[in-house]
């Protein structure tokens, strides 16, 4: 039987993670930044499941499920915050949210 390499999955996770990091740094729109954060969380999930398969431990799957739940909570609160920023400032550009700039 043909076997998959560990590095296939880990490198895919690394590429997705770095794409998400680029998105968080370079994007202007708050909703797009939230999407990039989702990319990062998915990359972490791939890594968790790969290490879980590697060590034959179920903890990888369990914590991937916890991350999915936390991601759902994060998106809910994050989008509520984006909505109230939009309502107060009529814009979701991160460059416009600078009242705390020193």
């Amino acid at each position: 039987m043909e076997e998959l390499l560990i590095n296939q999955f880990l490198l895919l996770g690394a590429i997705l993670f770095c794409t998400g990091v680029y998105g968080v740094i370079a994007r202007k729109n708050t909703v797009l930044v939230l999407m990039s954060i989702e990319l990062i969380l998915n990359a972490v999930n791939i890594n968790l499941l790969t290490f879980g398969a590697l060590t034959r431990d179920v903890a990888g799957s369990v914590f991937a499920l916890f991350i999915i739940a936390v991601a759902a909570a994060e998106v809910g609160v994050g989008l509520a915050m984006v909505l109230i920023i939009y309502r107060n400032r009529s814009s979701v550009d991160l460059d416009d949210v600078d009242s705390m700039r020193g």
Binding site: L4, A14, L16, G20, Y22, K28, G76, A80, V82
Partner: protein, 172 residues
């Protein structure tokens, strides 16, 4: 054969991920994100984690993407082209991401090299059903060993739900 599917799905995922972070159209970025989520679910199946894959489809594609699209519509992003979706110092993002990728790829290739996944943790093991399935193992350990973290996550979800309603409420 499994490897071919892996690389096919991985190529689609990486392409869609790049569309997510570079597209000037917010809705197109959201639709590309759905492709990435579906690809991640497929990779979970290749890793013989069928329960997590189904949860991924239900929660990410079903719930989170609908929330994202609601967010896009409610903030009235222009549905057509949105020219200034990327800020002026995007090149620092490219540098950071490439440096990070270089370091991680070097460490991974150096440490794991050509190591293979255990044969009983690959997609073929789902159909074999020699031992208990992955789903039953996961549920057993969630409700015994990881019961307290599970309850904490439940309370976190409740708190996030209440918090989101309080934050987004209009009449204050």
């Amino acid at each position: 054969m499994v490897s071919v599917f892996f690389y096919l799905i991985a190529a689609v995922m990486v392409g869609a991920a790049i569309v997510v972070v570079t597209s000037r159209n917010v809705v197109r970025a959201a639709l590309a994100l759905i492709v990435v989520f579906a690809g991640v679910a497929a990779q979970f199946i290749l890793l013989a984690a069928e329960f997590v894959a189904i949860t991924q489809v239900l929660v990410y594609i079903g719930a989170i993407m609908v929330l994202m699209l609601f967010g896009i519509m409610l903030t009235r992003a222009r549905i057509g082209r949105d020219v200034d979706a990327t800020n002026d110092h995007w090149w620092s993002g490219v540098v950071t991401a490439l440096l990070l990728l270089g370091v991680m790829a070097y460490a991974l290739v150096d440490y794991y090299g050509g190591d293979k996944l255990p044969a009983d943790r690959q997609i073929n093991s789902i159909a074999d059903s020699v031992g208990p399935s992955n789903t039953s193992t996961v549920s057993d350990s969630i409700f015994s060993q990881y019961l307290i973290p599970f309850e904490v996550v439940s309370v976190l979800l409740l708190a996030a739900l209440v918090g989101a309603i309080v934050i987004a409420r209009k009449d204050r």
